[in-house]
Amino acid sequence: MKHRLFFTLNGDGVETEIESHWSLLQLLRDHLELTGTKEGCGKGECGACTVIVDGKAVNSCLYPAMELEGREVLTIEGLADAEGNLHPIQKAFVEHGAVQCGFCTPGMLMSAKALLDEKPKPSEEEIRKGIAGNFCRCTGYIQIIEAIMAASKGR
């Protein structure tokens, strides 16, 4: 069933028609062609599809698009500023070697962003917990944690 939806995406208003069974991930990737958000499992297990809805990190593969009405969504495409300047967390990921194959990176960054917004100076333990739902097979997480730590200190 078709459904009309209004929400804010990366700061811009979006009005679009969706199928009522769509997930937020489907809406982003297939319909709005924002492929920065990745699908790692489609079952809410790996965190690759993490985006921020009203300040909270969510697995967009499980999040019903219908629920978006009036909400604010931030995806990886909206993390750098309009001039293309990287967000401090993105910068820290680049500079600390927190990126290898990069497939988990967008989701990891969104979880990190949500964490730092809520808790600007997290402990290492809190960082680990904050990204525990984001799987990475390349890095062993160490440089990712270092990067988040560095970004938090830069604040």
Binding site: C41, I76, L79, F93, G102, T105, N134, R137, C138, Q143
Partner: protein, 782 residues
């Protein structure tokens, strides 16, 4: 020590900006106009006759453009022994056998169409244990070999046997002997980006493939063979690689889904994409195979190793991919980790009705090293010698020629062992048996390429544009490890430009030169040596152009001044994008100016060079001997664990990873390789296991297949030992795989040190620990 401007620096990955902004395009993100979606129907039985396949209903579904079965396709064979076909006909041999395929206008319709395909099977007796599969009367998985000759057993016709010296004699003469039987299990790569492929034909039957492959040029050849089998003679293949979401060996072969996409694309004359779901990635890609390891090692009373006798049985699964060849690499640690004069190694790879195996980071080395290093601790205990001491006594050394005829050039093993022992405070901590323990294990791996094919080569083309920026076209494939970045660093170093001035292009067989693929930890060694070769030629050309170059420069007051570079290229130097006269550093002209000068003149010249580097290493001969690699990477891992005797849980308190890397071209990326590999190695040791029940994968999801998460993060301390290898690019060796090789035995040895009982099967789960602890308590009580 030589001063470098780019080499040795913690340079950020060249593609990191695209990756942190979501701009990098992976296979899953790729769409081609008019593209159809392909889906595969997999077998419902592990071993069965296919009596009939009815596709009529699926064909009638609106949106379906083609349905294919094994009946409809030409005889395309693939895999290491050519024992596999894209769509099965006659019978299926595993749950991942492809039975039919559909192309439709969207993925949901394709999925629905699969449900409409009716397949009639007649179940056959199946076998899932390699040892049972070797028994007389076991069901034959393949009745005939690819040449049509009858198969007499399920043992693959591969003569994996290495003998050096006289093991039986050495055994008789050994003072101490330790024997063990160990087991390893199925584990899988878990690339975060799943396998995918798009196949597209033009009107002249040329094929374009988009795939996240690790072997673009070998795949190109496989696909050309398929075109020939399809009767499309003269058609050629172009392979384009999008950003690759992890490799780890999983993409070293071409697979059924590749050929199915090609066949569907040909049938429909439309581009067809097949993208695996996570579930398919778990059960329908090729994992690391389980092994049964029987090992004995002996030593003199002084702890000098006398012999190593290993026999293994490998569960190959239903078809042969490169997994069947991992014994060729298992031989390496078996023959050449530590000095052991007498070696015997025999392995049988056995067909079963399980999934089928592939290379995975380490290519057999993690299994073999688990056997060797666990058993070595056992032997040290038999001999009453400290395990770190035994390792030092038998350490490899530069100049040595090993029983497999490996020529050891640089070797930092001794230093690695010493540094790990020191960092762990080994002397005071080892042997306490108080629930805390320390363990160590070492590794040898190819560090200077590996001649597994007739060539181990990689090509590079470099061109320099009008402004002094450098385009490097390499055959190498970046799967996330950062090869593009280290290639940029060595080219920048060689040419005297900044890393930011070097653009590495690596994703298209139509543009880039040839390479055998990203495997065997070879890319930094081979591709960087190739890039350096091309850069040297480019530099020569630039200096030729620059020799005697005259530039007119205006002063502030407008007076013209002539600047002339030395007439002899040998007296010129490029640094910071300027060409200098060595004798007079004040005389300098911007590189871009010289390049533009050479373009904008009569009889001008373009600066461009190519280089093909094929290391001077050897194929193994009929006895599996020969200098496989130009140099060998060494390392030692040390672990301190705490075992909870109530829950059986193992906590890693400290993890030290010392690696002889030759030279760290980029310490940050190097550490990243070590951290990541250790995480995979610890998973192998403690948590990871693909569970098969009668051939069916029972845990094809992240909930039940336990990869380490950030909560389990291992406190890895890398120790970088630089031995500056004479043949390495700026002295470097390969480091992609080594970090995951010794983790499992180092942990197993530490657990033994903590609780006094050895667990000889992976993964070492809390259940196994509790079981041995209870047995031990039971024995005490008797």
């Amino acid at each position: 020590m030589e001063e470098f401007t780019s080499v040795g620096k913690r340079v950020a990955k060249g593609d990191a900006r695209d990756k942190v902004t979501g701009r990098a395009v992976y296979m899953d993100d790729l769409k081609v106009p008019g593209m159809l979606y392909g889906k595969i129907l997999f077998s419902k039985f592990p071993h069965a006759k296919i009596l009939n396949i009815d596709t009529s209903k699926a064909e009638k579904l609106v949106g379906v453009r083609a349905v294919l079965t094994g009946r409809d396709i030409p005889p395309i064979r693939f895999g290491f022994l050519k024992d596999n076909v894209p769509l099965k006909w006659g019978k299926v041999r595993s749950y991942r056998d492809e039975v039919a395929a559909v192309a439709a206008i969207d993925p949901d319709i394709a999925e629905e169409a699969l449900n409409l395909i009716g397949v009639e099977y007649e179940a056959l007796p199946a076998v899932f244990d390699p040892e049972e599969a070797m028994e007389e009367g076991a069901p034959l998985i393949h009745e005939v070999d690819p040449r049509g000759n009858p198969m007499e057993s399920n043992v693959l016709p591969l003569p994996w046997k290495l003998v050096a010296g006289d093991v039986d004699k050495a055994r008789r003469e050994s003072t101490h002997i330790a024997e063990d039987r160990l087991k390893t299990t199925w584990v899988t790569h878990i690339c975060m980006g799943t396998m995918g492929i798009i196949a597209e034909f033009d009107l002249r039957n040329n094929l374009t493939i988009y795939a996240n492959t690790q072997i673009p040029y070998l795949a190109q050849r496989d696909y050309n063979d398929a075109l020939a089998a399809m009767g499309l003679k003269g058609g050629k293949t172009r392979v384009i690689q999008p950003t690759i979401g992890g490799g780890f060996g999983s993409k070293l072969d071409t697979y059924g889904q590749d050929y199915i996409a090609i066949l569907l694309a040909h049938r429909t004359r439309k581009p067809v994409k097949i993208q695996f779901t996570r579930e398919e990635e778990f059960f329908a890609t090729s994992p690391r195979q389980p092994t049964v390891i029987n090992i004995a090692q002996g030593c003199t009373k002084d702890g000098k190793l006398t012999f190593r006798d290993v026999s293994m049985i490998l569960d190959n699964g239903a078809y042969a991919s490169w997994g069947a060849t991992t014994p060729s690499v298992m031989m390496m640690p078996i023959s050449s980790l530590y000095k052991v004069p007498n070696i015997r190694y025999i392995t049988r790879c056995v067909y079963t009705n399980n999934t089928w195996s592939q290379a995975m980071r380490g290519y057999g080395n993690p299994q073999a090293t688990f056997g060797i290093e666990s058993n070595l601790d056992h032997l040290a205990e038999e001999a009453g010698i400290d395990p770190s001491e035994v390792r030092l006594i038998n350490s490899n050394t530069p100049g040595e020629v090993t029983p497999q005829r490996f020529k050891i050039t640089s070797c930092g093993l001794k230093e690695c062992i010493e540094k790990v022992a020191e960092s762990l405070d080994w002397e005071s901590k080892h042997g306490r048996r108080d629930g805390r323990g320390v363990g160590m294990a070492s590794l040898i791996h190819v560090g200077g390429g590996a001649r597994v094919y007739k060539s181990d080569g990689c090509g590079t083309i470099i061109k320099v544009d009008d402004f002094g920026t450098v385009d490097v076209f390499t055959g190498a494939t970046d799967i996330g490890q950062g090869s593009d970045t280290v290639i940029a660093q060595v080219v920048a170093e060689e040419l005297g430009v900044g890393v930011e001035d070097v653009n590495v292009v690596d994703h298209d067989t139509e543009i880039c030169p040839w390479d055998v693929g990203v495997h065997a930890s070879r890319t930094t060694f081979v591709a960087c040596n190739s890039a350096i070769g091309a850069a040297k030629r480019v530099k020569e050309q630039i200096l030729e152009l620059a020799a005697g170059y005259v530039d007119i420069e205006k002063d502030k007051d407008g007076t013209k001044q002539e600047i002339k570079l030395d007439e002899d290229p040998a007296n010129l130097l490029i640094r910071d994008r300027m060409v200098y006269s060595k004798r007079d550093p004040e005389t300098k002209i911007p590189l871009g100016k010289i390049l533009r000068g050479s373009h904008y003149r009569t009889g001008g010249k373009m600066v461009m060079a190519e280089y093909f580097y094929d290391p001077d290493n050897e194929n193994l001969d009929r006895e599996f001997k020969g200098n496989l690699s130009m140099t060998y990477a060494y390392g030692t891992h040390g672990v301190e664990v705490e075992v909870d005797k109530e829950t059986g849980k193992v906590k890693i308190l400290k993890y030290v990873a010392a690696h002889d890397v030759g030279k760290a071209i980029n310490p940050m990326l190097l550490e990243g390789q070590i951290y990541g590999a250790v995480s995979m190695g610890v998973g192998y040791g403690l948590t990871e296991q693909l569970i098969f029940d009668k051939g069916e994968c029972m845990n094809p999801n992240f909930r039940d297949y336990k990869v380490l998460t950030a909560k389990d993060v291992i406190p890895v301390e890398p120790i970088i030992v630089e031995t500056i290898d004479r043949d390495g690019p700026f002295g470097a060796k390969g480091i992609g795989e080594p970090g995951c090789v010794p983790s499992a035995p180092a942990i197993a040895n530490a657990i033994y040190d903590a609780i006094g009982v050895r667990i000889n099967s992976l993964p070492i789960t809390p259940e196994k620990i509790l079981k041995v602890l209870r047995e031990k308590e039971g024995k005490k009580g008797e």
